[in-house]
């Protein structure tokens, strides 16, 4: 694989608004050709970070390098990046073609060349015959395409997207996710997207950065974020999770054991943790990775084949079932009163009738599924 080239580099970027710290000492690199997502709850500083890359805010301290050049203080109209705004910000008094060509007009691109590039950009977003339309004659989804075409017509090094799908209805959002990724692959431009929607980030991005309270929490591929979160915040923010506080009692090269007062069973892991013995840790187990088995009264404890007997299996009683069609969510109460959430796909039509309320069950998980979190 060719060596990836860094296109955006943030070095110790901090942004303060008065006393409030919006972005706190963020260091981050975005590679050329990536679809990079900045993910976090509202107010986490992701939008401020994007606006600093665009040039609408200047960092209080730290440097922003675009394509190797320090652009921390360069005004937005002189940066090789273009933005798709949350409100799309399509100029209402111009036709679609004039909107798309505006950046080129300002740049001084001659009319024949401009017309060619307008046509090219409109074709890219499948709005070929819409050039003469006015924005108020278009739907929200079409206006977004205009905004996309307008930004891409400038041939930016990086395309910035601020919550691109938040204003669309659910069905269209799904479709645009797919189209945006396709578009990105087609034009090969680096996309930097801000979103608060974890599904959106996981589905579209090649890499994500999770932010919270101005701090960068984790930068990883979507699957690594989901499977190997590095903190309780990330584990909880991305998808659903059952968290148990415990202590590390065994920590060998090829296995580890965590005991939690919240669980009746020790948690066996098929890998070492490299934490000190007796360290306080959190165990994170995703609901879909917990198996539910029927439990007969007085039956011997079931065992998982990849863990020693008595590990990774705990009895409980189903207290609540949420039927979601494709899957069901089971709220299971353990002996000590702790509720655990387990999820099961309804593979056959009988599946959801199989388990019922107040039914005694075994909850079990494989040794590879729990994630150990140190913070």
């Amino acid at each position: 694989m060719a060596e990836a080239k860094t296109i955006i580099r943030l070095e110790n970027v901090t942004k303060r608004f008065g006393k409030a710290v919006a972005v706190d000492d963020v260091t981050l690199s975005v590679e050329e050709g990536e679809f990079f997502a900045l993910l976090g709850p509202s107010g986490c500083g992701k939008t401020t970070l994007l606006r600093m890359v665009a040039g609408f805010e200047t960092p209080t301290s730290g440097r922003i390098l675009i394509d190797g050049q320090d652009m921390s203080r360069t005004p937005p109209n002189q940066r090789p990046v273009n933005m798709v705004f949350q409100s799309y910000a399509v100029f209402p008094h111009m036709t679609v073609a004039d909107n798309v060509g505006y950046g080129l007009l300002v740049e001084g691109v001659a009319k024949p060349e401009r017309d060619r590039r307008i046509e090219e950009a409109l074709a890219l977003v499948k709005l070929d015959d819409f050039g003469e339309r006015k924005p108020d004659q278009m739907s929200g989804g079409q206006r977004q395409r205009v905004a996309l075409a307008r930004a891409l017509a400038k041939r930016p090094r990086v395309l910035l997207l601020d919550e691109p799908l938040s204003a669309l209805d659910a069905k269209l959002r799904e479709q645009m996710r797919f189209e945006l990724t396709q578009l990105q692959e087609k034009v090969g431009v680096t996309f930097l997207m801000v979103t608060h929607d974890q599904d959106e980030a996981l589905a579209m991005a090649s890499r994500c950065a999770v932010m919270n309270r101005g701090l960068l929490q984790q930068v990883a591929t979507p699957s690594d974020l989901y499977e190997f979160p590095n903190s309780r915040f990330v584990a909880d923010f991305i998808g659903q999770v059952n968290l148990f506080e415990g202590t590390l009692t065994v920590d060998e090269r090829d296995h580890a054991v965590v005991r939690s007062p919240e669980l009746d069973t020790p948690v066996f892991l098929d890998h070492g943790v490299s934490g000190a013995h007796g360290t306080s840790v959190w165990i994170a187990i995703r609901p879909e990775k917990i198996e539910i088995h029927k439990r007969a009264e007085e039956a011997p404890m079931m065992a998982m084949e990849d863990a020693p007997a008595g590990h990774n299996v705990t009895p409980g009683v189903i207290r609540h079932i949420a039927y979601l069609g494709s899957e069901s969510i089971y709220d299971v109460e353990l002996g000590n009163g702790r509720r655990v959430r387990a999820l099961r796909s309804n593979l056959t039509r009988r599946d959801q009738e199989d388990l019922t309320w107040d039914e005694p069950v075994w909850l079990a998980w494989h040794a590879c599924t729990p994630a150990v979190l140190l913070s």
Partner: protein, 287 residues
Amino acid sequence: MSGAIKQRRAPAAPLEYLRHWPIRTWLVLVTVYLYAPLVTLVAFSFNNSKHNVVWRGFTLHYYALALQDSDLITAFGNSLTIAAISTLVSLVLGAMTALLLWRFRFPAKTAFEGALALPIVVPEICMGVAMLVFFTQVMPWPTSLPWPLNLGAIIISHISFSFSFVAIVIRARLASFNRELEEAAKDLGAGEWRIFRDIIAPHMTPGLVAGGLLAFTLSLDDFVITFFTSGPETTTFPIKVYSMVRFSVTPEVNAASTILIAITVLLTFIALRLQGTDVARNAAGGA
């Protein structure tokens, strides 16, 4: 079955106001009281009677008379000139003030915004007296200047009240501006001046048209303030009409007023047409 029954109208829905008789009556009354005086004025401008009390037949004689009355024509010309100049200056000042208030933060901004509304709330008679005192005691305006410079005092006093209206109308228009449009233009490479020309000004246009129209009509029919600032050489149309009415109400006054009404209606019509279609289209061209 359905064909056999004679179709009856559905009972009036709560919001179908025009189908309730009390509201209809109210509507008719309001219309009559609003427009009857105007209709009378226009009708009697064609009345073939010197004293203009009873209808004595149709004539255009008084229109001819009004158009031959050189004093009346001069006053009319003065009024239009004052209105045109004060509208233009008010538009420039008002637009700049509106932009200032919209765009920038500065000390005592709230006080400034409040003071802007003063000319609107201060009774006109007070404004008139204030102008009179100002132009006699503080800055006497020379009356011997050639036309239209001799209208300066009136023009200045008209600007002083109509620019507030213009500023407030444009300020309100700017409040609906999406700042992301400005950022988008900047992101696409435009500088401040270019953003103003291509993005902000087109958005302001309806406000400019509305504000200009307001300033023009306010100036054209202002009586009180003008009364205190005009001299014998600088009569405006309302003042002239007032002095004519003091002698007798002849159809000539009606005729002159009708012409004024016609001009105002025409201007409003043109302005609305501009606002609706051409302005938007021209602005869309960009360059």
